[in-house]
């Protein structure tokens, strides 16, 4: 019970990153704050949308140089 209480309090303290606005998700925090790291890139929204939603939300996480590296390895260079 005590554990559940703390969990619920803890969850209340977590900032809401997304909010529902006219039926679609919108950023609930300042756009600059999101960029600075308030959106912690937990990937939960993308997976939730994938399993329970309409696969409308996508997260792009570039990795510098990996595309070229894989091309080179695939070509046997």
């Amino acid at each position: 019970m005590r554990n559940m209480y703390f969990k619920s309090v803890y969850r209340k303290l977590i900032p809401k990153i997304l909010k529902d606005e006219n039926g679609s998700p919108r950023l609930a925090i300042d756009i600059k704050e999101a960029k600075k790291g308030k959106c912690i890139e937990c990937l939960a929204c993308e997976l939730a949308c994938m399993s329970k939603g309409n696969q409308a939300l996508k997260i792009v996480l570039p990795i510098e140089g990996l595309k070229e590296y894989r091309e080179k390895i695939s070509e046997g260079k």
Partner: protein
């Protein structure tokens, strides 16, 4: 801990006015001859590597003329010391040594202060010398705020049996070394041998400097590509991995490729979390007759995005036959973050090898459920494990999966970012971006994305 070459360490010594032999670095035979002619023969030529014991492998030679020098340098350039290919040599004036000492400063993690180790018997095999002649070794913990004073240095040197005149020469050099250590943000600053010349002067004949990883950014002059302890220049994939770490301070991501594993039959991708747990897990790998293609560690509460990138880097190694993730059994970080990182990476890669993922620690049940939910229907064995599952048990599960998969290796796929061309709403995050195709959201009744962090979905 990034190591410096001897010639770089000597530049630091020179900058704090510690005498070093005349000479310079050379990357070709012609450059070496030019250096030798500018300082005059006889010279000593030394390979520049990050390892010790160069003399034993023929990496230190004397030359009395151009012919001898050319012969040595031709042989040395291109030498392989372990995984390290020699690309540079240091050419220095040969010095007349009367006596050798050892002087080294290290950061003492136990006492959280710099510590000086001085021995009146220097040269190679210092560890054995210290065992055989303990009376010739003295140590001193240095109070960082009070600093290190010449009288303290002289007093320490005298404790090792050096006479007053000698101690008076050596003491100020040790104080300058301490300045060099602070100036370069070194974790280890060693001069071995510190020599007394025939004329009585003190000179640094060799040095070994290791820079604190977290201070490397303050020293672009050292040209350190990756602020980690390497015994060879980094591979291209290690450079890519390091850029991920460099651009994201949240948690840590370490990636190192084990080149010697490539020829082995049972090679797997390894993804640890936390040093101790990772070592324990690697024991399970070797005890089950497998080799790791790489060592990887994501710990210190990394975001899911960092774990995702680590997994994508590991899966950039074609031929690995399994993916073994296992670290600390009782991690305090929320393990569902790591689970989501794995899920996104494995789904994007359409994972074709078995994966055993041990996510012991906080919220491990949710982490395991997430893995099961998104990856449970894959044709290859993918399973999450918790703290009550030993690394050995998890490793055995991986072996079963590898057998079931016919020992097939991972096939490399092109790295493709998600197509967001139809998305009409987006925002930037710290290292990426989130995109929404709002037209699709109109018919969504769950709105699961809004409160998804602690939910299973």
């Amino acid at each position: 801990m990034a190591k410096l070459y001897e010639y770089q360490g000597k530049q630091i010594l020179k900058s704090v006015k510690i005498p070093i032999p005349e000479g310079g670095v050379a990357g070709s035979v012609d450059e070496a001859v030019k250096q030798a002619n500018s300082i005059g023969y006889p010279v000593v030529v030394k390979i520049q590597t990050w390892s010790t014991g160069r003399n034993a492998v023929g990496g230190v030679k004397f030359a009395d003329n151009d012919l001898q020098l050319k012969e040595h340098v031709t042989r040395m350039l291109g030498m392989k010391i372990g995984n390290f290919a020699v690309e540079k040599v240091l050419v220095e004036k040969k010095i007349a040594i009367k006596r050798e000492f050892f002087a080294g400063f290290i950061l003492n993690d136990t006492d959280k202060c710099p510590m000086l180790l001085f021995s009146s018997r220097g040269g190679s095999g210092i560890e054995e010398i210290a065992k055989e002649y303990p009376e010739s070794v003295a140590t001193m913990k240095i109070d960082f705020f009070n600093g290190f004073k010449p009288f303290e240095a002289i007093s320490l040197v005298k404790k090792t049996g050096v006479d007053s005149a000698g101690a008076a020469e050596i003491g100020p050099v040790l104080v300058k070394m301490y300045e060099g250590m602070k100036k370069s943000d070194a974790r280890s600053f060693e001069v071995n041998p510190l020599v007394q010349l025939e004329d009585g002067k003190i000179m640094a004949a060799d040095c070994h400097v290791v820079i604190d990883d977290y201070a490397v950014y303050r020293h672009p002059e050292f040209g350190i590509e990756i602020a980690r302890e390497f015994d060879r220049p980094p591979t291209e994939l290690e450079r890519i991995a390091y850029m991920v770490e460099k651009n994201d301070y949240r948690g840590t991501f370490f990636f190192f490729q084990m080149n010697e594993a490539n020829e082995f039959e049972n090679v797997i991708g390894f993804h640890g979390a936390g040093g101790g747990g990772s070592m324990m897990s690697m024991n399970a790998v070797s005890e089950n007759n497998c080799k790791i293609a790489n060592f990887c560690d994501t710990s210190g509460n990394p975001p899911a995005s960092k774990v995702y990138r680590a997994a994508k880097v590991i899966l950039s190694q074609p031929g690995i036959k399994g993916y073994f993730a296992s670290g600390s059994g009782v991690a305090s970080q929320e393990q569902f973050h790591s689970a989501r990182g794995f899920v996104k990476a494995f789904l994007e890669e359409d994972i074709d090898i078995p994966c055993s993922i041990r996510l012991g620690g906080n919220s491990e049940d949710l982490a395991i459920e997430i893995l099961e939910q998104y990856l449970g229907n894959k044709s290859v064995n993918i399973k999450g494990f918790g703290k009550n599952d030993s690394p050995d048990k998890v490793m055995k599960h991986l072996l079963e999966g590898m057998e079931k998969n016919g020992g097939a290796g991972h096939k490399l796929t092109p790295f493709v970012l998600p197509d967001v061309s139809k998305c009409d709403y987006s925002f930037q995050t710290m290292t990426g971006s989130i995109h929404v195709e709002t037209a699709k959201c109109e018919t969504c009744t769950s709105k699961a994305c809004i409160e998804s962090l602690f939910r299973k979905y």
